[in-house]
């Protein structure tokens, strides 16, 4: 085990605990940068897909993992980010502006939606957001003149500083674009977590009563969390629509919201790493399944297999590893660090009280 000597308060404020950790993450980043030279275009596309899902997942993670609000409606924000970005581009705004602007617009709409949703807790919020997702699906169909309705819309060509970014002719450029977006989002996310706002999020999640007693404005904090969450997910949604090249209401059905929520739970609720690990699972599950069914000699696709297996994975995780993949990794790491002194009961699950939400 490495021992850290705290020489100044900056130790807790810095992005990395120590030089070794910084080295590991820089090595990971280097690997991500050279990835286009290591794998072929198909897998590069998959890697891009992972990064896009991770971006969406980070958005929801901020709300659900950090602030404790369950949303089953984030597909609505993905759709909003995507249509906002594309409509701006069609109006002549260059992509480099339209993209962040789409995120900001989605964030503002998210914050607006949060204001009435503030009163809702737990299950009620989950249901309200689910209704929002379904409404958005229908609204996309009804607003056909702008959204293209069921027929959908073709993503306009992306051009950044004269460089055309196309997933077929320049897959590496697409990959780098997604990488930059997810890195910037991750950095903002980390910065929030080590600042008063991030702690206010945790406070609201764990005890609204004492958060208030410490001066945290619950309504404001939740609204901000909702807004930032929606904004990030909007950015992810824009990438998803653009990457798909054609999108319609089906691209953003409420099932996507549910998958997104499941994804961050599989990855590890409350951890940035969780969004990435979950994204890897969700992006590669279809591949793994199709390889598995092929090797079993089945030629026809089995409908619902993907969601069925994903459901099963979910249930296993919730029952046996509620902290997700990242939680599992933390335990393994602690075990290795302490080897051979680790005791089994160190990892015993804390039984919490039944925190009742119902008051009567």
């Amino acid at each position: 085990m490495r021992i850290q000597f705290k020489t100044s308060y900056d130790h807790d404020i810095r992005l990395f605990k120590d030089g070794w950790q910084a080295f590991l993450y820089i090595a990971l980043l280097a690997l991500m940068v050279v990835l286009p030279w290591l794998i072929d275009d198909f897998f590069l596309g998959e890697a891009t897909n992972v990064l896009i899902w991770a971006t969406c997942g980070l958005g929801l993670m901020l709300l659900t993992g950090q602030t404790g609000q369950v949303s089953l409606g984030h597909s609505a924000f993905m759709a909003m980010g995507c249509y906002a970005c594309v409509l701006l581009m069609e109006a002549g705004v260059p992509f480099i502006l339209a993209f962040p602007l789409g995120g900001v617009i989605t964030g503002l709409v998210g914050a607006l939606i949060a204001i009435p949703a503030l009163k809702l807790h737990g299950v009620y919020l989950a249901i309200a957001t689910l209704a929002l997702a379904i409404l958005t699906d229908d609204l996309i169909v009804m607003l056909e003149p702008w959204t293209g309705g069921v027929a959908g819309k073709f993503a306009p060509a992306i051009e950044v500083f004269g460089l055309e970014i196309n997933r077929w002719s320049s897959p590496a450029a697409w990959y780098y674009m997604a990488l930059i977006v997810v890195l910037v989002v991750t950095l903002f996310y980390r910065n929030l977590l080590r600042a008063p706002m991030g702690r206010a999020f945790a406070a609201v999640r764990d005890s609204e009563i004492s958060a208030q007693a410490m001066g945290v404005n619950i309504a404001r904090t939740k609204t901000i969390a909702f807004g930032i969450s929606a904004g990030i997910t909007g950015l992810g949604g824009a990438l998803m629509g653009l990457f798909a090249e054609v999108f319609n209401n089906e691209t953003f059905t409420f099932i996507i919201s549910i998958q997104l929520l499941m994804m961050i739970v599989v990855g590890g609720l409350g951890f940035i790493h969780g969004a990435f690990l979950g994204a890897i699972v969700i992006a590669f599950l279809p591949q793994v399944l199709s390889i598995a069914t092929d090797s079993l000699g089945s030629t026809v696709a089995i409908p619902g297999l993907e969601t069925g297996v994903f459901g099963l994975i979910m249930i296993l995780f919730i029952l046996f590893e509620p902290m997700g993949l990242y939680g599992r990794w933390l335990k393994i790491r602690t075990f290795l660090e302490l080897f051979p002194f680790a005791r089994k009961d160190m990892f015993r699950r804390q039984k919490s009280y039944l925190k009742t939400e119902r008051l009567r």
């Binding site: 009163k119 009620y124 209704a131 499941m262 619902g304 459901g311 039984k351 919490s352």
Partner: protein
């Protein structure tokens, strides 16, 4: 006349929503869990009946099959609670929400494997054809559904008011800790509630399948039933039925009198409206947490 026709068919749909909503509310009241798979329970109940009754499967007599269906679905609910949900006792609600959604995915997949994805129709004694009175065309199934639902709700209501088990369930739902200290076997009661929810889902499924065809995605009406439960206040059985009726009746009228598309969004718009202005439903009162 047309209004009456819309009303009856709306009420019949509403009864199915109401019954699914009833399942949510039963479970929520007793365990504080929300079963997002209740719609899929209904789908499963319909398919199990269909598997027993339809000639292309086992071809049993409907009335012989009925108790078997109830037993299967009741045991299914009970085992689910015993094996899966009890392990989550005391964990946060996100876990339960996701768990039941995932369960819905699995049920849909399994139903698709067994019964296929083509819509099938149940050979139900309730599918009685239409009754014509002048210009009025009434689906007899619709009328039957309304009658069965009202009888069932009445029965459940009496059950909770009169029987020992029912009272124990009420007590467990109001204050788990206190009920526990009073010697009510809270966990067994919860298992019983899940079993009951399974049976109610089976009845809802049979009624649903008597009106039309059923396929593995039929469980998605669970979302409308959610709207119904929330509109009714998520804590009351009659509220759930009322909520179901409201949603059911709004749909055909919105389809008839509003521009295209509105009938689809009407239930959700109503749901969001209710959540905004009466967050605890149309029929509930709110209390604050004590510190």
């Amino acid at each position: 006349m047309e209004v009456l026709q819309l009303l009856i068919s709306g009420m019949a749909n509403g009864c199915v929503y109401g019954l699914v909503a009833l399942g949510f509310v039963l479970i929520y009241k007793a365990t504080e869990a929300v079963n997002f798979a209740q719609g899929d329970f209904m789908m499963l109940g319909a398919f199990v009946t269909l598997g027993l009754v339809n000639p292309e499967f086992m071809g049993l007599n409907f009335w012989v099959a009925l108790p078997i269906v109830f037993v299967i679905m009741g045991v299914f609910g009970y085992l689910l609670d015993l094996v899966v949900l009890r392990a989550l006792f005391g964990q946060n609600q996100v876990a339960v929400i996701i768990l039941t959604i995932a369960l819905g995915f699995i049920l849909r997949f399994v139903a698709g494997l067994i019964w296929g994805h083509e819509p099938l129709s149940l050979h139900s004694p309730l599918a009685l054809g239409d009754l014509r009175m002048g210009t009025l065309v009434l689906g007899m199934a619709d009328v039957a559904i309304i009658i069965v639902t009202f009888l069932l709700t009445l029965f459940l209501w009496q059950f909770f008011q009169r029987t020992k088990v029912g009272l124990a369930m009420q007590a467990a739902s109001q204050n788990q800790m206190a009920a526990y200290y009073m010697g009510i076997p809270v966990k067994r009661v919860q298992g019983f509630v899940w079993a009951l929810a399974g049976i109610v889902a089976a009845i809802a499924g049979i009624l649903y399948a008597s009106k039309g065809a059923i396929d593995p995605n039929a469980g998605f009406i669970g979302i409308k039933a959610f709207a119904a439960a929330v509109i009714g206040g998520f804590g009351s059985l009659p509220g759930a039925l009322m909520g179901g009726l409201i949603v059911g009746i709004i749909e055909p009228f919105a389809a008839r009198y509003l521009p295209a598309g509105w009938s689809q969004i009407a239930p959700y718009a109503l749901l969001i409206g209710v959540l905004l202005f009466r967050p605890h439903g149309l029929f509930a009162q709110v209390r604050v947490k004590k510190v």
